[in-house]
């Protein structure tokens, strides 16, 4: 069976290459349109105030008015509602449940949700900033037989840089201590390195830090506009020149090789096929990065939204030609095709994000230059990715 199109969101749930069968399962889900992977946002609340946060501007009281397509004004899902939705997910075919936020560890629902996920035999992955992983919490998490692992975000190789992004002094130390503590309890921990203007000079050092401490890691170069429609996060985005500097320097081994297939079968991602996401207020999205509401679990059962939402039907029916800027683009085999970035930048799922387009062009230029000087053809898929 061919591998299904993948994005980094899949990788959060099932690291690529870790098990060949995982790719087969993702392909089955993609072909049969089974929501195997679902992200559930437990809360928008967070104990740090990252400058690049994609939820909303953490220096304000809450989300801006938004695009009108998402339920920004509604209260967050209650525990009772979350339990009902988890049952609906189980019935719809979900196996991998990714808990995200906000900060999941700041939610009073986290442990009841983990208990319920265990009862429902769901495999759980968590995304966290790690700062609340105190010894008792780490030990408690390790007791869950169904916990696949925890992905922890890091924004710098030094406390000064990381803490400037989170706006919380001491957060770098607490994050790394939390990661170490959790790993010591036997939980699989992966660091997610978000590359942005404040840390672009430390990218090599961030990778070295992970290597020195023995943590597997992912890199994400794409800071997007916020899900409430505000744009302040984009000031954190690296420039085209900085990206080129990275590809010619500390990320020279991660340059996309231009081998991404561009045919009809390979062009779509797993959005609305094997992946879905549910916001803290019940909106159902095609993936965690694309806040295009297909429905709300307060109004409709998840399975019904999954099967018959016009938004999901539209996404599933898209052909390469339906992406007006992408279809003729000569750089698309180098492109991350980050639908979240595109949607947040343009308001359209089939639109584009100028940064992603520029990044594909930079990748092609640098890769072709490298090939001309007989550099090895390196296969590394995660240079630009959708997940945060």
């Amino acid at each position: 069976m061919d591998s299904a199109p993948r994005c980094q969101d899949d990788a959060i749930l099932s690291p690529p290459g870790e098990h060949a069968l995982v790719s087969q399962l993702q392909s089955m889900a993609y072909e049969r349109m089974i929501p195997l992977n679902v992200s559930l946002e437990l809360t928008l609340k967070c104990n740090i105030r990252c400058l690049h946060c994609y939820n909303f501007d953490r220096d304000t009281d809450g989300p801006a008015c938004g695009s009108g397509q998402v339920a920004l004004a509604a209260p967050e899902l209650s525990l009772e509602e979350i339990f009902r939705v988890m049952g609906e997910l189980r019935a719809a075919g979900t196996l991998f449940l990714s808990l995200t936020g906000g900060e999941v560890l700041s939610s009073p629902h986290l442990f009841p949700v983990l208990d319920h996920a265990r009862e429902l035999n769901l495999a759980v992955q968590m995304l966290s900033n790690g700062t609340l992983l105190r010894p008792g919490v780490a030990a408690r998490l390790a007791s869950y037989r169904n916990l696949l692992g925890v992905s922890i975000s890091v924004y710098g190789a030094t406390p000064e840089v990381h803490d400037a992004v989170t706006q919380i002094r001491g957060s770098w130390r607490r994050t790394l201590d939390g990661a170490e503590r959790l790993r010591a309890q036997g939980v699989a921990v992966r660091l997610k390195l978000i590359v942005m203007r404040p840390n672009v000079h430390e990218v090599g050092a961030m990778r070295a830090l992970c290597d020195a401490r023995g943590f597997p890691y992912l890199l994400d170069l794409t800071v997007t506009a916020r899900h409430d429609g505000s744009q302040g996060s984009l000031a954190m985005r690296i420039t085209e020149a900085e990206l080129e500097g990275l590809y010619r320097g500390p990320l020279s081994d991660l340059i996309p090789n231009g081998n991404r297939a561009v045919d009809e079968a390979a062009f779509p991602c797993n959005c609305a096929r094997g992946n879905a996401a549910i916001s803290a207020r019940g909106d159902v999205f095609p993936c965690v990065s694309v806040p295009w509401a297909a429905g709300n679990v307060r109004q409709q059962p998840f399975g019904e939204i999954w099967r018959s939402s016009p938004v999901f039907e539209r996404i599933r029916g898209l052909k390469v030609a339906d992406y007006p800027a992408c279809a003729p683009c000569p750089d698309k085999s180098f492109c991350s095709r980050d639908r979240g970035a595109a949607y947040n930048a343009s308001g359209s799922y089939t639109g584009t994000d100028p940064f992603v387009c520029a990044a594909a062009g930079v990748a092609r230029a640098v890769a072709e230059e490298d090939r001309a000087t007989a550099a090895p053809d390196v296969q590394l898929p995660l240079a630009i990715a959708a997940a945060r």
Binding site: S14, L21, L25, R32, L95, L122, N146
Partner: protein, 90 residues
């Protein structure tokens, strides 16, 4: 020996197949329809005789014809650490 599936393990049924994930070993197992049926039956504590009898009835076969296959399947699930021995060690 009386077995039951490890109640903490994530799994999901996708049409005929069942996927079982073991986060501890980071292995994923794909069970075919017969193995998936055994997995279902192992929600309750079962012996080899219980499973053989149940499957023989469902597949319209004699217990003698089914026993070796069920035993092999049960051994495979046990060796992969997917079962708990209700009487004692996993």
């Amino acid at each position: 020996m009386t077995y039951k599936r490890d109640p903490g393990l994530p799994f999901q049924k996708l049409e005929e197949e069942t996927i079982v994930v073991d986060p501890r070993t980071r292995e994923v197992h794909l069970l075919n329809d017969t193995a998936a049926r055994v997995w279902e039956l192992l929600e309750s504590s079962s012996t080899l005789d219980d499973l053989t009898e149940a499957l023989a009835e469902e597949y319209d076969a004699t217990p003698e014809a089914m026993r070796a296959g069920v035993e092999e399947l049960l051994g495979g699930l046990r060796d992969k650490g997917l079962l708990v021995d209700v009487a004692g060690a996993a």
